[in-house]
Amino acid sequence: MLKKYALSLLFFVLFICLAACSEDDESSGSGDNGSGGSGGSGENVELTMWVFPGMGIDEQIERYQEENENVTINIQEAEYADHHQNLLTALGAGSGAPDVAVVESAYIEQFKVNPDQFHNLNDYGAEDIKDDFLEWRWREASSPDGSFVLGIPTDVGPMAMAYRMDIFEEAGLPTDPDEVSSQLSTWEDYIEAGRQIQDATGGYMFNHIAEIYGVIRDQGEEQYFDEENNLIIEESEQIAKAWELAVEAIDIQPGIERESTEYGAALARGDFATVFLPPWMLQRIKDDAPDTEGLWNVAQIPEASGNWGGSLLTIPAQSDHPQEAYDFISWLMAPEQQLEIFKSYGNFPSTPELYDHEEVQNYNDPFFTRDDLGVMFGEAAERVEYVYRSPDTSTVNTIIDDALTSIHDGSASPEEAWNNALEEIDRQISR
């Protein structure tokens, strides 16, 4: 008899535990928002922070803890995809989210449309530091009307174009960055130069059809959706332009994706003459093609720039210490700290005042010839256009990329590919 009771008791306890787990944090999360208002007042606080590798912020976090003895930062690191999956799960489950979570730019939209899950940083003083940051970056971190701010921007990835001077020279193209920029000032010029290179050397201009599409796409403010999230892909001029130019450029690319294992080999062999890249990708060329030192130079991309990468530091609504967390992240991404991070790790700052700083101005790398890389990426960062994206933007991107690749594979004509893509987009975004 006793055992039976014990058994049912065990079940009961287990059940209660499980039920309680989900209830508990929901109630405490919503109630305690105000309590941190007096933040930093000597009370000991432990903040958990979820990051993924490559943030370059460890030393600065150490410093913050030394300067603020009452604050302990508990860093938990997970791989890029796992990190975002964990965050999504913790938010969806209503418990387990950290006090500070990094959100990479590819995931921003997904989280931004659910403002209930995060503390609005405007409530803690984000309005005051707004002007420190690049305008387009801040807008990406905010709701369309600016009333809600999801996170404080970390670094940015302004895009430029690295090119092989030896291949350009062989094809009779200029090699000086300024001359390259002026001769390749439009995409038509760029494709023309690509044909010239193909005729002269038999090589390609760039790696993959979807890549040039993406670069041109990001140069326009209007993409697939308007701000009410209506699909406007068929009306968008920038999308039509990007698609047409990409299709036109199909014979000057070998169809090697950047994520593929072949990319490094192709880069080392000089299969393509140009690479569109943000500053953090310079290192990748050095790793993949160490023998090409001194053959590269970097110029601006035709017509405009774009951004690839960078993150936001957010405070999930489950955090009980939003004020302390805000004080910490706004300090961490203040210009002084971003400068330190740039010095040690090369993460390009999102605060434009640093672009005039000698540390950024003098940033250079003999591997890429020119000695003012910092100035150039700074200019590129100021050239980035704000782009409105919806949570479905990445879904549409994948479908269009696949459509373009299928043209390259020879399994669809451009018209078929476009029409199939439109049908599939309609299906997928309605779910």
Partner: protein, 309 residues
């Protein structure tokens, strides 16, 4: 008072002793012993199953509100989703391409490993099983490099024989062959070991008798080994069916291809839920998949019974 208490407790003891029946007691502790499995199964098996069914009737992106939409997910899935049916077709064709040669090869390998003349059996057995314990991610990355269109070692091999390099990632057959090759590489050894265990269960006398009767090794294999191994072969067929329906990591890492030629059912489910965040629709896919696998297993059982009788 004290006395009274002891008397009372003695009475209780007597009462329980009288009622004590070994059978119930044993049954109880038995249940207790096996309960961890059922508790864990209830939490990680039954509950997700039911919750998935519930989710499939909703539109949900994890973070926002769950919106009840009835059976429209199923409706869309069954009537207006060519991609889903493509993934079903892909799964079955990859399953056929990988399983049929895999089992034949495993049977032959097991037969060789079981021969008396073979020395250092342990090393061969270990070698054959090794691929199965390698990380599937590592396997997929290596195979992706090997099947590269421009710099892959397999295309290099083809050009040595004067053949044209093949576009493995951009063609239907190429992608499915590459994925099947990975599956085969990992599972041939596993099935070989199972077959080997089966072969060792067959009495040596039968082979000796066959040898005396003048049967060659090939005849012994075809007329002795295969008929006697039938139940084990059926077992491996069922196992590979279960595995084949769940092929996921290989196409995820190799790339499903621009025309979705490598998109399997589980990969589609994953992409729907975790990259497009349509958890309701993903849940509906999961349930349709469940039904498809049940139907296929029933078909399998039916076939098995036919073969047995």
């Amino acid at each position: 008072m004290v006395e009274h208490n002891t008397v009372h407790s003695e009475a209780v003891d007597n009462k329980t002793k009288k009622k004590y029946r070994p059978k119930i007691h044993d049954a109880l502790s038995g249940y207790l012993f096996i309960s961890p499995f059922f508790i864990l199964f209830a939490i990680f098996g039954v509950y997700p199953l039911i919750f998935t069914a519930y989710l499939s009737l909703h539109k949900w992106n994890v973070l926002g509100e769950r919106e009840f939409i009835g059976v429209s997910n199923y409706q869309a899935l069954l009537t207006n989703d060519p991609l889903f049916w493509k993934s079903v077709g892909n799964t079955f064709s990859i399953w056929v391409i990988s399983t049929v040669p895999q089992l034949i090869l495993a049977l032959i390998l097991a037969f060789i490993l079981n021969q008396a003349f073979l020395k250092a059996k342990g090393i061969f057995r270990l070698a054959v099983f090794m691929p199965n314990i390698t990380s599937v991610v590592a396997v997929a990355i290596i195979f992706s490099a090997m099947f590269g269109t421009n710099y892959g070692v397999i295309n290099y091999g083809l050009t040595l024989f004067g053949l044209e390099p093949y576009d493995w990632k951009g063609s239907y057959l190429g992608t499915q062959l590459a994925i099947s090759a990975m599956v085969m590489w990992r599972w041939v050894g596993y099935n070989t070991i199972i077959y080997l265990a089966g072969l060792q269960g067959i009495s040596k006398d039968l082979y000796e008798a066959a040898t005396i009767d003048g049967a060659s090794k090939t005849q012994q294999f075809l007329y002795l080994t295969i008929p006697l191994m039938r139940p084990i072969i059926l077992f491996t067929v069922i196992l590979s069916t279960i595995g084949g329906m769940q092929i996921f990591a290989e196409p995820l890492l190799f790339g499903r291809g621009a025309s979705n030629q490598g998109l399997t059912m589980t990969l589609y489910l994953y992409e729907e839920a975790f990259t497009r965040f349509s958890f309701g629709y993903g849940a509906a896919i999961a349930w349709v998949l469940f039904v498809i696998i049940i139907l296929f297993s029933l078909f399998n059982m039916f076939l098995t019974q036919r073969i047995k009788s």
